[in-house]
């Protein structure tokens, strides 16, 4: 721990003139006291300039009527009051939460199921784990492009598969539910395997003696899963849920490319998310002030969830010891 150990002068230094020796000692003392600050400073500098300042500045911008850079007027909270009665904003909030729920609930259930299957003694476990993680190599943009083609109305693979079940051609982009479903599928495809590995890590930490005891008591595997695995996995489940929440609330690329790059998320704004609405205001309509207000609302939503995250994790970590 203690690193104030002064470098003792090497034997040869004893013949060096005392002045130079003193200089060396002073230099090394300076090295010991200043180096730590020097080493950690890059992060703080970068965060100050590109993280903290933009966040604070967004708030200032959001208090202004700020159309183009340099041309602005202070209007207090009027952007926010306007937001509260802005149907397009609430539509985006509804879409964001709708897609978040449709995407996250099945995703986490499937991930649990997959993790449970992976948590067995099997041949080539690494190969299977890599297999379920495969979607992670693709970028969000690539996923969105491929799935949008698969969800095409006339020639898409999804409709081709569905027609075997008697479902008539779905125009996936055209209405709310179908576009939510299509976007959620993209999200789930990309993240289910990743989440299942996090669950798997949690499952491996559960002492096996619990299962042995339950087996002796005659509990079936199904029962063991629901009565032992799931309750003991709760910290992991909470963690994954909240990570998914933070990601889900910032949903942007998938719905954007699903609508061929249009920020409005379809002619009726069927799949426009809050992040897209922010972007649309700032970069398409050049209303930086209003866009910043949207950003702060989104930030507040995320912050509430993050705080929740922090409190829960701290509590669980404290409970373990």
């Amino acid at each position: 721990m203690a690193l104030d150990v002064r470098p003792t002068a090497p034997a040869g230094a004893a013949v060096a003139p005392p002045g130079r020796r003193r200089l060396r000692t002073r230099l090394s003392r300076l090295d010991v006291s200043l180096s730590p600050y020097l080493y950690i400073s890059p992060f703080y500098l970068l965060f100050l300039v590109f993280g903290l300042f933009p966040l604070g500045y967004t708030f200032w911008v959001s208090l202004n009527h700020w159309e183009m850079i340099g041309d602005h007027e202070f209007i207090g909270l009027r952007n926010y009051t306007r937001l509260l009665t802005d149907d397009q904003f609430w539509n985006a909030v509804g879409n964001t939460f709708g897609m978040f729920v449709i995407a996250t609930v099945p995703q986490l259930l499937l991930a649990l199921l997959l993790a449970n299957a992976l948590n067995r003694k099997m041949r080539a476990p690494t190969l299977f784990r890599m297999g379920v993680l495969l979607p992670l190599v693709t970028s969000v943009a690539a996923v969105a492009i491929v799935f949008t083609q698969m969800f095409g109305r006339d020639y898409g693979m999804a409709n081709w598969v569905l027609h075997f079940f008697g479902v008539h051609k779905v125009d996936w982009q055209a209405n709310k539910w179908s576009s939510w479903l299509a976007v959620s599928t993209m999200v789930d495809w990309r993240w289910t395997g990743y989440n299942s590995l996090i669950f798997l890590a949690g499952m491996q930490a559960i002492p096996h003696s619990l299962y042995e005891a339950a087996a002796i008591d005659g509990a079936s595997r199904m029962r063991q899963f629901w009565k032992i695995t799931v309750p003991l996995l709760r910290p992991t489940i909470v963690f994954v849920t909240i990570i998914s929440t933070i990601g889900g609330l910032q949903l942007f690329t998938e719905p954007l490319l699903f609508n061929n790059g249009y920020m409005n998320g379809g002619s009726l704004r069927q799949s426009q998310t809050v992040a897209m609405y922010m972007f649309e205001n700032a970069f398409n309509r050049f209303q930086y002030g209003y866009g910043s207000a949207v950003a702060w609302m989104l930030f507040l939503m995320i912050l509430i969830f993050s705080l929740f995250n922090f409190l829960i994790i701290r509590r669980l970590a404290g409970g373990e010891k």
Binding site: V140, I216, N260
Partner: protein, 291 residues
């Protein structure tokens, strides 16, 4: 009697495998999951090797064709996508960000884990707090900062803000505190090594496993970054993902062109994944990494 039974059952259980053996059903579930995971990737490749007739075909073709070369040529000759430039831009940005993140995170992680200085705990807490702030929501003012710096449309705009992350610092700090023995550092100190020399020749080698995981994830993340490059770069100097989006909005009927783009954009990460898959899985499962 009771003790006897307990002893017996325990012996019986201990004799069985520690984990349940995977049943054929388990294998079936997993193989089905892998097919679902792999299929869109496979489909991406199939379309990239065919002509646009494929889009209207019923049933869709499931076997690769012979037009990958033509499609590649069309992709790289396309004047709107600037694909070759985009690949180069992404490669530079991802490599620089990954290397720099690893270097500065290791340096700061070492300081937090092994050096003693005033305010250490408070400063570490600040880092943990920043990890919870989704900084990408500050893109509007970040964009304004870039306008003032005259960096819009330039590659440094997607590099400099991400040269070191709070997540990286925290990860390396956690690793350094358990992987580097204090005695080693003290011994080097007694030998007259400067703090940086200790970092470079004693600490950094010990941090290698965590550093490589951090580098891989940072590289993948930067390569796949979309929203910020889309906001700050220009269409004539894009990154790979931005270039894909450009293709998507200009040629949304030319599927073979777009899909060839996604294949080329995915290849570097697929190579990283195949070579370092084990480390990536280890990183995720240690809970240390969020992609």
């Amino acid at each position: 009697m009771k003790a006897y039974i307990r002893g017996r059952t325990r012996a019986a259980v201990a004799g069985s495998a520690r984990l349940w053996q995977a049943s054929p059903l388990t294998y079936a579930v997993l193989i089905f999951a892998i097919v679902l995971s792999a299929f869109p990737l496979y489909w991406m490749f199939v379309v990239a090797t065919r002509t646009n007739d494929v889009v209207g075909a019923v049933p869709p073709p499931f076997i690769a064709g012979q037009h990958l070369g033509d499609n590649m040529r069309r992709l790289f000759d396309n004047e709107q996508a600037h694909f070759a430039k985009a690949l180069l831009n992404s490669a530079i940005a991802s490599a620089v960000v990954a290397l720099s993140t690893v270097f500065f995170s290791s340096l700061a992680g070492f300081a937090f884990a092994k050096l003693r200085f005033r305010g250490r705990n408070a400063l570490l807490l600040v880092i943990v707090a920043t990890m919870m702030v989704p900084v990408q929501m500050g893109i509007i003012p970040l964009y304004m900062v870039m306008v003032h710096l005259h960096w819009t449309g330039k590659l440094q705009a997607v590099i400099v803000p991400f040269l070191v992350t709070g997540f990286g610092v925290f990860m390396m700090r956690q690793y350094a505190s358990q992987a580097v023995p204090d005695e080693l550092i003290e011994a080097a100190r007694v030998d007259g090594a400067s703090t940086f020399r200790i970092f470079w020749s004693v600490v950094l080698p010990a941090l290698r496993p965590a550093a490589s995981v951090l580098a891989l994830f940072t590289f993948m993340q930067t390569w796949n970054e979309f929203i910020w490059p889309r906001a700050v770069l220009n269409p004539d100097n894009p990154t790979v993902q931005y270039s894909l989006a450009l293709l998507n909005s200009a040629y949304f009927n030319d599927y073979t062109l777009m899909f060839t783009g996604t294949v080329v954009a995915t290849i570097p990460l697929a190579i990283v994944f195949v070579v370092f898959g084990r480390q990536i899985i280890g990183g995720i499962m240690e809970g240390a990494v969020k992609a």
